[in-house]
């Protein structure tokens, strides 16, 4: 749904919300925000507000879902009915089921699931306010919640999207950019190795543009990864200082 009426980026490369081409929206991460969960995270990313909670590892039920060699990871991505302009019917829909699947698969890559045969690890991702990029925000929040829960991982997974608007490749699409842009590339990586654990693409990109987008998104992931670690350290400091 392109439109020529919306000018998403000006001649100087400044975007509608004042950001530069390779600039992230403001991000705020807190870990250990929920009392009941084994690990949790609250994430604000632009207008997105996302909670993630981790429960487990615990015995997988129903039993026939158990894998004798490793834990299964059940990520459930859910949007609150009031998180979008027109109220969404509560409960899972086709879109949320697909996102739950790709996030579950991405998380299984980094979690040392072999340490917990016959177990399950539940990751609840709740989008309370939504504004473009919720699957990357959800993966990022899930990564922090898993670390907060002490689940052994090879790395803390992180997500960030790049895209194309007004003919230019940019980092981290905002709301209008998502609606009226040319392409969107949500990416999830394991930041230490740079391995790609989540990747989708919609829209229209040349091979070169895609490579630029990939570079931007990887760079964005690396920046968000630092914020994840800071959030986890902050909680650790707080505990150490006995606050």
């Amino acid at each position: 749904m392109k439109t020529e009426d919306v000018k998403l980026i000006d001649a100087k490369g400044i975007r509608l919300d004042g950001r530069k081409i390779d600039e992230l929206r403001p991000i705020k991460i807190e870990s250990g925000v929920l009392h009941r969960a084994d690990g949790s995270c609250y994430l604000e990313w632009g207008g997105n507000k996302v909670f993630a909670a981790v429960y487990g590892p615990r015995e997988a039920i129903p039993r026939h879902t158990q894998n004798p060699l490793r834990a299964i990871v059940n990520a459930k991505y859910n949007m609150a009915a009031f998180s979008v302009e027109d109220r969404k019917r509560p409960g899972p829909d086709r879109r949320s089921r697909e996102i739950s699947k790709v996030i579950s698969e991405a998380l299984e890559k980094v979690i040392l699931t072999e340490q917990f045969p016959r177990s399950m690890i539940d990751v609840a991702i709740e989008v309370l306010d939504a504004e473009a990029g919720t699957r990357c925000a959800g993966l990022t929040a899930a990564g922090v919640a898993l670390a907060d829960a002490g689940i052994p991982m090879i790395d803390i997974p992180v997500g960030c999207a790049a895209g194309k608007i007004g003919g230019k490749v940019v980092l981290d699409l905002g709301k209008e950019e998502d609606n009226f842009g040319d392409a969107d590339v949500p990416l999830g990586i394991s930041p230490r190795t740079g391995e790609i654990i989540l990747l989708q693409m919609d829209g229209h990109l040349t091979f070169d543009e895609f490579n630029t987008a990939l570079d931007y998104a990887i760079e964005g992931c690396n920046k968000v990864s630092k914020l994840q670690k800071e959030a986890l350290l902050r909680k650790y400091d707080t505990i150490k200082e006995g606050k």
């Binding site: 929920l34 009941r36 507000k49 909670a53």
Partner: protein, 260 residues
């Protein structure tokens, strides 16, 4: 599943015999309440309530639709509660379970029967177009007493709701017309001990539960007994009195937060 609750129960009952609760509160003492409003940009109104470690978010969305045939001049309200797996290892996604249904229905009746939302002021075109108010309750963190937390969050969210008339080209936005709401207070009974505002550990081993909604005049506006234990007539009286007292305190707290 079976031994842990028994041990927990013994521990809580023994403490109770000494007049104590596991978190140090008195039997008729409410937990600290924190209320934050208008935190969801996409919602017409919203509020997050923390009741100790319990956290509930209520969001209000509004839409334009048809009235019910038997009340053509009245707006419509619906209430849904999701016990999302974020809040507890025992909650599952999917269709709402019995507990979520009871929760939504108790909150809904608290709003509907006391006519908190002035639905008769939400008619746009009689018999054709009225405002629909969607109340959605999300449990974020579950440490007991969801009924009260959800009820307070709903009232706070309704109090800050703006009717999105602009979006529907029906004039300027204006505050949702609401009346002074009754306040719910929940107590549980364990053996012969009655405790206000239970935490999860208490709730899990409780024999009976009673929620009482009272208004500013000290009148009763709703009641709901739960769980497979019983109350005596005297215990009911006592619970009502505690609910009246604490209801007034919560009301003050709510109003202060809403800047009234």
């Amino acid at each position: 599943m079976t031994l842990v609750p028994i041990i927990k129960r013994d521990y809580i009952v023994n403490l109770a015999k000494q007049g104590k609760r596991i978190d140090g509160r008195k039997f008729d003492q409410y937990r600290n309440i924190e209320i934050e409003t208008n935190i969801i940009k996409k919602a017409e109104g919203s509020a997050r309530v923390k009741l100790g470690n319990t956290q509930v978010l209520a969001g209000i969305k509004m839409d334009v639709g048809e009235p019910y045939p038997d009340s053509p001049d009245s707006g419509v309200m619906t209430t849904a509660a999701e016990l999302i797996p974020l809040a507890s290892p025992d909650f599952e996604s999917g269709p709402p379970q019995q507990d979520a249904i009871e929760l939504a229905r108790v909150v809904d009746r608290g709003v509907r029967e006391s006519q908190v939302i002035e639905l008769d002021k939400l008619c746009i075109e009689p018999g054709e177009k009225v405002w629909i108010v969607f109340i959605d309750i999300h449990i974020l963190d579950y440490d007991g007493n969801l009924f009260d937390a959800a009820s307070i969050a709903t009232l706070a969210a309704l109090s800050t709701t703006q009717v999105p008339a602009t979006r529907f080209e029906l004039g300027e936005d204006y505050p949702l017309p609401i009346k002074e709401p009754p306040i719910s207070c929940t107590s549980i009974k364990i053996d012969d001990f009655v405790m206000l505002d239970p935490i999860l550990d208490e709730e899990e081993i409780a024999d009976a539960r009673l929620t009482v909604a009272t208004d500013n005049n000290g009148d009763l506006r709703a009641m709901q007994k739960g769980l497979n234990g019983s109350f005596t007539r005297e215990e009911i009286q006592k619970v009502i009195k505690t609910s009246l007292d604490n209801g007034q305190e919560i009301r003050k707290h709510l109003y202060k937060n809403l800047g009234k």
